[in-house]
C-alpha cells in the first residue's frame, strides 16, 4: 500500500454531512433511466411507450457503438419517454409490476470460473449484462472501447466531494463482492488495477486494506481517479486510463457473480436543507420524492443530484441517474444580501482569507448564490492555487477564448479533473470549469471522427 499526499484542493467545513446509518427504502412504484445524464453517448431507443420490459431488458443502445447497451432497472411497463430540446432523450420512466417483478437472468461466473476465463469472454459477459457503463476512460470520462487495453484501471472507493456516500457504509457486508470485482478487473488489466481510498476512512482501510494499492490523503478532490492518475503516471501512454467508481464496481461484480442485473444503490441524502441526512439503500433510478420528503421542506431549496460540485440540479419530481450516488438539498440563496460587501463574514464560506469564517471552527452553510457578478480576471491566482493537477486555469481559459488549441492542450487541459474548484474560488465568477468540460467534450468529438 502506497501513500499519496496531495497538498492542493479545498478543505471544506460544510454543514449537512449525512449520518452513517443506512436506511433500506422499499421499492418505488416507478423507476427511471436518464440517458441525458450519461455523458458523451448518443442513445438510440429500443423501446417505446407502453412496451413491457423486464429488469435487465435493453432500453437503448449507443449509436456510436451498438454493443454498448443500457438495461432497464425495473420490470413492468414503459410509462413515458420524455424528450428535451433537440430531441435529447431525457428520461425513460418505467411503471414497476409487483410480485413477481419480471427479470432477465444472465449467465453467472463463479469464482473458480473467473480464475480461468479469458479476457474476451469476460468483456462479452459485461457487455451482454449492460454494465459496460461502469467503466469510463480518462481524460474524457467517456465509455471506453470494449477491445481497448487500459494502461490502468483505477478504482476510487470514496468521494470527498460534499456529500457522497461513505465507503464504510456501502461496503459493509460486501467486502467479498469487492474482492470478486477486483479479480474481474484483473482479468481485464492484469497487474494494472489500482485501488485507492482516502486516509480518513480508517475502518475501510482496516477491512479492505489488503486490496488497496494506494491511500490518498489531502483535500477534495484528492481521491478522484484523474488526480491519482496525475500523480502516478510516468509517461504519456498512461493518459487513457479507465476508472470505476466503488459502487459501480460492486454493481459489476453483482452482475457477474449472480447473473442478475444490479439494482441496489446506496445514496447519501445530505445538504444543510435536507430534512433527514442519512444513507439510503434504493433501487437504481429511484425517484427523488422517495428520498426527500417534500412536505418537510421550508421552500427555497435546490435539489442537487450528485455532489455539490459536479451534480446536476433537478426538480423534486426527478430521478437519480446511473452514475449519481447522492442527493444534496441546499438553500437556493436567491435573496440579495444587505451590505454583503461589508459583512465581516463569520459564517461566510470562502477559500480566501478575507472572511472571519477563517477563524470559525463551525461547519458552514453553503448556498447557491453566485456571491458576485461576472468581472474580468484580475489574476488573483486562486484557481491555480486550488487546482489539484497544477493547471493554470486562467491561462487555459484565455487560450480557449483565443481558440489556441495547441496552447491549451500543452497547458494540460486534458489533465483537468472537472472538480469545479476553479469556478468555485473565482472572485470574478468566471465559469472556468464548465468551459473546460465543454471544450474537452468538443475535442473528444473531434478526435472520434478522425480516421484511424
Amino acid at each position: 500500500m502506497q501513500k499519496l499526499t496531495m497538498k492542493k484542493g479545498y478543505r471544506f467545513r460544510m454543514a449537512g454531512a449525512p449520518a452513517d446509518e443506512l436506511v433500506v427504502l422499499p421499492a418505488p412504484a416507478r423507476v427511471a433511466v436518464l440517458p441525458e445524464r450519461i455523458p458523451h453517448i448518443k442513445p438510440r431507443l429500443l423501446v417505446k411507450k407502453g412496451d413491457q420490459v423486464q429488469i435487465g431488458s435493453p432500453l437503448f443502445e449507443d449509436k456510436r457503438n451498438p454493443r454498448l447497451r443500457f438495461l432497464s432497472p425495473g420490470g413492468g411497463t414503459i410509462h413515458d419517454i420524455s424528450f428535451g430540446p433537440r430531441r435529447v432523450v431525457q428520461a425513460i420512466v418505467i411503471d414497476r409490476k409487483e410480485n413477481p417483478e419480471p427479470e432477465t437472468r444472465f449467465q453467472a461466473v463463479t469464482e473458480s470460473q473467473l480464475a480461468q476465463i479469458d479476457r474476451q469472454a469476460l468483456v462479452d459477459r459485461i457487455l451482454d449484462g449492460g454494465m459496460w457503463w461502469a467503466f469510463r476512460e480518462l481524460p474524457f470520462r467517456d465509455l471506453p472501447a470494449p477491445d481497448g487495453e487500459p494502461p490502468f484501471i483505477l478504482v476510487s472507493l470514496n468521494a470527498k466531494e460534499p456529500f457522497q456516500p461513505s465507503p464504510a457504509v456501502y461496503l459493509k457486508d460486501h467486502e467479498q463482492l469487492l474482492a470478486y470485482g477486483l479479480k474481474a478487473l484483473n482479468v481485464l488489466a492484469p497487474g494494472r488495477v489500482r485501488v485507492f481510498a482516502d486516509a480518513s476512512e480508517s475502518s475501510v482501510i482496516e477491512k479492505a486494506g489488503q486490496w488497496l494499492t494506494h491511500v490518498v490523503s489531502g483535500n477534495y478532490p484528492c481521491d478522484d481517479p484523474a488526480t491519482v492518475l496525475y500523480r502516478i503516471k510516468s509517461d504519456a501512454s498512461q493518459n487513457r486510463a479507465w476508472f470505476v467508481a466503488g459502487q459501480d464496481l460492486l454493481a459489476l461484480a453483482h452482475l457477474l457473480r449472480e447473473g442478475r442485473y444490479p439494482i441496489r444503490r446506496v445514496v447519501a441524502v445530505a445538504g444543510s436543507a435536507a430534512p433527514d441526512r442519512r444513507h439510503c439503500q434504493i433501487r437504481l433510478g429511484a425517484p427523488l420524492s422517495q428520498l426527500v420528503d417534500d412536505a418537510r421542506l421550508r421552500g427555497g431549496e435546490r435539489f442537487v443530484v450528485g455532489g455539490l460540485f459536479r451534480g446536476y440540479s433537478s426538480d423534486s419530481d426527478g430521478y437519480v441517474g446511473f452514475y449519481e450516488t447522492a442527493v444534496n438539498v441546499v438553500p437556493e440563496g436567491g435573496d440579495p444580501e444587505f451590505l454583503a460587501l461589508f459583512n465581516p463574514g463569520v459564517s461566510r464560506p470562502s477559500y480566501s482569507r478575507t472572511f472571519l469564517s477563517r477563524l470559525n471552527p463551525k461547519a458552514l452553510v453553503y448556498n447557491c448564490n453566485m456571491h458576485g457578478d461576472l468581472r474580468a480576471c484580475i489574476a488573483c491566482m486562486h484557481c491555480a492555487d486550488v487546482c489539484p493537477v497544477d493547471l493554470l486555469p486562467q491561462m487555459i481559459y484565455k487560450s480557449i477564448l483565443a481558440e489556441e488549441v495547441e496552447e491549451y492542450l500543452e497547458l494540460g487541459l486534458l489533465d483537468c479533473v472537472e472538480c469545479g474548484l476553479c469556478s468555485y474560488v473565482c472572485p470574478s465568477k468566471i465559469e472556468l470549469s464548465r468551459t473546460f468540460i465543454a471544450t474537452k467534450a468538443a475535442y473528444a468529438k473531434e478526435q472520434a471522427v478522425k480516421p484511424d
Binding site: L341, R353, T354, M370, D373, L409, L411, D415, Y424
Partner: protein, 394 residues
C-alpha cells in the same frame, strides 16, 4: 434596509431594456452592489460559489489605504506649518492638510469613476471596482502642491490610456495609477519635481514668502557631500531613522510613512489580497542591490553608494510602491515564480535608478512601469518551463 431595497427596485426600470438610461446599467449595478449582494444563483455545477467578490477584494485594498490617506493629511499640514513657522497644533494642521488633500482625492474619484462609466456605457463592460483603488492610489502619490487640473488630467490619462484603451481592468498591462503619475511627471516636470513642490504653501499673505521649504530626503541623499555619509547628512537635516520610518518628512501625500505601508502590506499579505511573493521579492531586491552598492563604496565614491540599504526602503515612495503598486495583480505577472523575479527586479531597479540617475530622484515608479512591461515575458518563460515538466496529455 427595506427602503433602500425599494429605492433600487424603483430606479431599476430606468436602466433596463429601452429606457433612456439603459446604457448606464453598469453604473446602476455598481451602485446597487454597494448596498446589496447579488440575487443571481448558479445555473450549473459547481452549485456553490465562494463568497469572495472582486468588489471585496478591491475594498480591502482601499481600507488599507485609508491610514495612509489620513496620515497624509496630517503630514501635509505638519510640513506646511513647519515651513511657515506656525505653531504645531494637531487640529489646525489636520484641517489644513484635509483642505489640500481631499479636493485632490475627490477630483481623482470624479474623473476616474467618470471615465469608467463612460467606457462601460460605450464598450458595454461592467464597471470594474479596480477603478476605485486606482482613484485612491493616484492622489496619494502626488505632491501636495499639485494643481487640481493636473490631478484631473493625470487620473484621466491613467484610466483612459493606461487601462480603458486596452479593454478595461484585467486587460491593462500597466498600473493605471502609476501611468497617470508618470504622465504628470514627464509632462509637467516643474510642478512635479524640485524641493518646493513637496510642501504645500501655507498661504497667509506676506507670511507665504517667509516659508522655508525643506529638501526631501531623496534630494539630500543624492546631493550628500562626500565628506559625510548619507545617514549623517539626513540626520543633520532632521531626518533620523525613526522620523523617516514614521514618515514625518516632506514627500508625496500618502507615501511617506513606511510604517503604515508596512502595516498595510502585512495585512494584505495575511488576508491573501497582496502577493507575498511580490512584496518579499521587492524587499529582497532593494536590500540586495543596496548591499552590492555598499561593496563599491569607498574613498572618493558618491556617498549614496554606501547608504545603509534599509534606508532605501524607508525614504521616498519605495514602501508605498511595494505595498500597494507592485501588488496590483493585473499588471504583475500571474505565475508564482515570475512574481518573485518581478519583485526582485523592481527592487533592484529602484535602487539603481535612484543612485545612478540624478535626473530621477525617485526610482520606484519607473521601475514598476518598466517591469509591468516585462511581466508577460516573465510569465511566458515560467509557463514554458512548467509545460516542459508536465507529462504531455494530448
Amino acid at each position: 434596509m427595506k427602503a433602500i431595497r425599494q429605492f433600487f427596485e424603483n430606479q431599476r426600470r430606468h436602466f433596463e431594456g429601452n429606457a433612456p438610461l439603459a446604457r448606464l446599467e453598469p453604473f446602476y449595478e455598481a451602485m446597487e452592489r454597494v448596498f446589496f449582494g447579488t440575487g443571481q444563483v448558479t445555473g450549473q455545477a459547481p452549485h456553490a460559489r465562494d463568497s469572495l467578490t472582486v468588489q471585496r477584494y478591491m475594498m480591502l485594498v482601499i481600507v488599507m489605504l485609508l491610514p495612509c490617506l489620513f496620515f497624509g493629511m496630517y503630514n501635509v499640514g505638519l510640513q506646511s506649518f513647519k515651513a511657515a513657522g506656525q505653531p504645531l497644533d494637531f487640529w489646525p494642521m489636520m484641517v489644513f492638510g484635509a483642505k489640500i488633500v481631499l479636493p485632490l482625492v475627490i477630483i481623482s474619484y470624479l474623473f476616474g469613476f467618470g471615465w469608467e462609466i463612460v467606457f462601460s456605457a460605450i464598450r458595454k463592460h461592467p464597471i470594474s471596482e479596480g477603478v476605485f483603488v486606482t482613484a485612491m492610489l493616484f492622489p496619494l502619490t502626488l505632491p501636495p502642491s499639485t494643481p487640481w487640473w493636473q490631478a484631473a488630467l493625470g487620473i484621466s490619462f491613467g484610466v483612459v490610456l493606461g487601462k480603458e484603451v486596452f479593454g478595461g481592468t484585467g486587460r491593462n498591462f500597466l498600473n493605471p495609477a502609476l501611468t497617470g503619475r508618470a504622465f504628470l511627471y514627464f509632462a509637467y516636470p516643474i510642478q512635479m519635481s524640485g524641493d518646493a513642490v513637496w510642501t504645500a504653501v501655507y498661504n497667509h499673505g506676506a507670511q507665504a514668502v517667509d516659508a522655508v521649504t525643506a529638501a526631501t530626503p531623496l534630494a539630500l541623499a543624492t546631493t550628500a557631500p562626500a565628506s559625510q555619509t548619507v545617514e549623517q547628512t539626513l540626520a543633520a537635516a532632521g531626518y533620523d531613522f525613526s522620523t523617516l520610518f514614521l514618515g514625518f518628512y516632506p514627500d508625496s501625500i500618502g507615501a511617506s510613512s513606511a510604517l503604515l505601508c508596512l502595516i498595510g502590506a502585512v495585512v494584505l499579505m495575511i488576508i491573501g489580497v497582496a502577493s507575498y511573493r511580490i512584496i518579499l521579492g521587492d524587499i529582497i531586491g532593494v536590500l540586495a542591490l543596496g548591499y552590492v552598492l555598499n561593496l563599491f563604496a569607498g574613498e572618493g565614491s558618491a556617498p549614496y553608494l554606501g547608504m545603509n540599504p534599509f534606508y532605501h526602503l524607508i525614504i521616498g515612495g519605495t514602501a508605498f510602491g511595494i505595498a500597494f503598486m507592485t501588488t496590483d495583480p493585473v499588471s504583475a505577472p500571474d505565475t508564482h515564480a515570475a512574481r518573485w523575479i518581478y519583485g526582485f527586479f523592481i527592487g533592484a531597479l529602484t535602487v539603481l535608478i535612484r543612485v545612478f540617475n540624478p535626473a530621477f530622484p525617485e526610482g520606484i515608479m519607473l521601475a514598476i512601469l518598466f517591469m509591468n512591461v516585462f511581466a508577460p515575458v516573465l510569465d511566458h518563460l515560467v509557463i514554458r518551463l512548467r509545460i516542459r515538466k508536465r507529462i504531455p496529455n494530448i
